[in-house]
Symmetry: C4
Subunit: 317 residues, 4 copies
């Protein structure tokens, strides 16, 4: 189907991605497209990993609804024990009783304990004792989750949405770029890029993986944008690939960046991928930083990360 062949290239068989899949191996955010089956849901998830990955508003909604549900359950228990075992309850109506019992529960769970309503007798006191204990442990766990969430080291890298095939040296190069978009401090960044090509041989469709040779694989300080360049020479699996080939062959470029965050003192990684549809043939990135007017610092224009312009490629046939 394609004029080029890979026979002279050494494929990478140890990627961990398997070989019989024609969709996207990892999604734009770096998560693998894998579904696990055959284990119960409780064993399949690390609830802590899940909590760390939950979007902020979902995490907060979960905390609030948990708070309401637990207090509702305890209110029911106190109600069943009998409101006469709580002092200060407004007993005008069942509704009023339940309201007071519910708020007694919240005052116990949060350990506010105003005392306007207080337990009398063994059973109500026992439940309140247990509820206050549970409340404190609950907030202990919430403290841990909050800390775990915001102390979780993340790279905060923004990748260009597309990769380009740009004129480079006497030929062309595959390029994409990234930039740190938050006030992090990344040093010693390194990158590995893998390309998967779906190849049909003897009627069987298989994915082959190739490590892409890069012009620069490590950088001392990741302060400005970093344009990753793969020179397309005879050793490249992209050699001879035409604009049309990009539309017909399923290609995926899998990117893996590792850097040292010197504020957290921890390694951080981030991944992304580009499929054939996200590779632009014949284009060049615009420069995205320049000195400030005052010439005292450099300005990095993060909104320009996807800015490119057409650029014709040399004909090497």
């Amino acid at each position: 189907m394609s004029k080029f062949n890979f026979s002279g290239l050494k494929s990478n068989k140890d990627t961990g991605f398997g070989d019989n899949f024609s969709g996207r191996f990892i999604d734009k955010n770096g998560y693998p497209n894998v579904q696990k089956r055959g284990v119960g849901i409780l064993n399949r998830y690390s609830w802590y990993h899940t909590m760390l990955n939950l979007p902020r508003w979902q995490f907060i909604a979960l905390l609030i609804s948990g708070y309401i549900v637990i207090n509702f359950i305890f209110a029911m228990i106190y109600f069943l024990i009998g409101v006469e075992h709580l002092t200060g309850i407004n007993r005008s109506s069942l509704m009023d009783e339940f309201t007071d019992v519910f708020f007694f529960s919240t005052q116990t769970f949060t350990t506010v304990g105003y005392g306007r309503i207080a337990p009398v007798g063994f059973l109500a006191s026992l439940v309140a004792t247990f509820e206050a204990f549970l409340g404190l442990l609950g907030f202990a766990i919430a403290t841990g989750l909050f800390f775990g969430r915001f102390s979780r080291p993340r790279a905060f890298l923004k990748f260009s949405d597309v990769a380009l095939i740009s004129p480079y040296k006497d030929r062309s190069g595959l390029m994409f770029r990234m930039a740190p978009f938050k006030n992090t401090s990344l040093t010693d960044a390194s990158i590995t890029v893998l390309a998967s090509f779906e190849i049909t041989e003897n009627g069987e469709t298989k994915s082959s993986f190739y490590n892409l040779k890069l012009e620069v694989t490590t950088i001392t300080s990741l302060i400005l944008n970093w344009t990753i360049v793969h020179y397309i020479d005879e050793q490249s699996p992209f050699y001879g690939l035409s604009s049309d080939d990009l539309k017909t062959i399923a290609i995926e470029i899998i990117v893996h960046v590792k850097a040292f965050d010197s504020i957290f003192s921890s390694d951080v990684v981030q991944r992304t991928s580009y499929t054939s549809q996200e590779i632009i043939y014949g284009a060049k990135f615009e420069k995205m930083y320049n000195p400030d007017e005052t010439n005292l610092f450099t300005v990095l224009h993060l909104d320009k990360i996807n800015s490119y312009f057409p650029a014709s490629l040399p004909d090497i046939s």
Copy 2:
């Protein structure tokens, strides 16, 4: 006793496992079979390591029983000081008194402090002051323990229960496999495999350790299952080992996996071991992943990790 000899192989003398032990060096879960003696129990355990390793229900049971015991002790102290130094105590019977004193203690320890019962006078107030302080510190420690427990980086790898001697290339290979079973994100996994053979020489039984050469020792992304393959050639200590030898020679395969968990940004390790009894002679693993019907993602069947079928080995005599 065995027809093969190890004379041409270089054994590994720096394993740290010692040399005169004929049982299992490490158990299935990776813990070494070593007992420490000669130091007091307080010095022998790092209580924090212990707390991190405790099963969840034991940890919770420990917290609850600690809570009850501490409050019981404080209740005794208040009782000895005299219930007349607490306001609002129900003094109908000794039992009622103690109940109220106990719940006053829990209300102090959890800092709920309804105030229906409150200390009056120096001594009761002093004890309550100390108890509230202790309560807060206790919950501070519990917070730390909770966080320590769930933020503890773990690999969450499932290993196959058995290792197989499978047909491989023109000969045979020792194989076992592993898969990540939770929603972790492991990259840069590496593995080392050590085999111990109990050899009787000049009437003395000794364990010899050999590093097993593997076909692949590192993998970029640990997303699907990973089958570890040791090719049994002339350089392998398994060369010439027959099905019967497996029943008579004490062998232990010690596995050590290290990977980078990109959610925790931390290295994680996991160990396991296979003894002679856990090595199946002449069998092959079934494939455990396939594309989804929709062809959009890969399905990993974790329940198939132990699935294998018989496969006859080539005769190389």
Copy 3:
């Protein structure tokens, strides 16, 4: 403009600093002189990184003012609901009412809950329930921030304010020094030094980067001061640089230190830089440590880190 040229030297093109900037690349404290634009302020900052970097008094001021503002808002809400839904309010004047409502709010937020003032009825109780919940979460977050701040691994290195060009061997050397100034325990320290020279070629001004070769790049224990020495031989970009050149050429020496803090069990990094103005031509550092009078330990004089004396350089023309 300068008599020396760099034609024989290999410049480092992978520093991540860009190439068209004539100011200072990183400031004295190691932060890069880069401004990010083109993303909203919420996306541009990692609030957690910001909180970790905030000076102590600003952090505390932020906590206190947050505490006041939140309680003021809740006081307003209770006031709007109506003070008749709170027991025990002093209703002599509007001011007195608001005062009591405000302090009811603080007693709820901190979960003190004396109970002299307590909510009655659905609405006030509901708001109080929410406030106590918010209070606990707020303190959970504060706990995390405190821990994040003080457990953040930092190198605590003091660098000499200036670098010297000192007599060294038969010629001269570029020297600066550092010392750990707190009770940390740093081991396995390593250093890399980069020099940027602003060079005007064909009317275009560009920064070129050179890795400086050091006499010692790693040190086992960073206990006393460490004097970093770059021997200025023919391979050095500083070769032939005169005292006057230092005044006219924009040079920046960028220093990057990495060490292992054995108390935190974590790698720590620190950066600094020296510009032309901070390089002293013809001077030597004074020794800054000596044995104690008792000869039992070594004394490190941190106040001497900037002590140097003039020393004439050999003439090598």
Copy 4:
């Protein structure tokens, strides 16, 4: 003074220990014998490092005394504001008044807030508001400190008190040993050993450092004891050293161990040192582990770590 010389040996000049000190470079627990001067006490200490290193009882004593002092100060403030601004105070005597005020303070600081005593009026309420806030922040900090203390990765290695010069191969070897004494899980341990010799040359006394070549420098699993062996051949600075030399020459052996703690997923380091007085000439260590009677596990006798017996060294003159 000694018959041997070091002229043929390459000394290590990059140890970071300095060169003019004749006492002990690091103490038995691995802390360097260095005193820092010339900076204020506040800048000289990282209070967090200090808190992590404080012995347990000192840490607890500090917490308790801080708690008492703070409450005493607040009690004074409430007293100065006037006890009439607190409800429920026992006003029989000044002493009773102060007692009640003090306990009101502790009930506020710990947020127990029984409410038997409660603030009335602006000033007392304001101070109470601030105290409750401070209390919560204080416990937030205590939580962080507790967690920091017990989650601090430590190696928990026990070293033999002495090093031995034992018969080894055809000659002799310098040996000492270590063992993990707690329920940790250490892997990939590595060791470096440095020896300092005080040498008087031309009337000047100087310390020279030599890296000792070890038989084994890394070990896969640090489960049992590890005996470190330095073979004393012609390349060793100990070559030709007699029993008498040990008494007259100031020698220090500086030991640095690094290992990976797989429970904390963190590197841990530990250091120690041996001086001439702690080197025994002509002795051998007893074996300190053996299989259990049941032959199911290995027993490590930690109390035997210092057990050795005399062993005559070969005469190589």
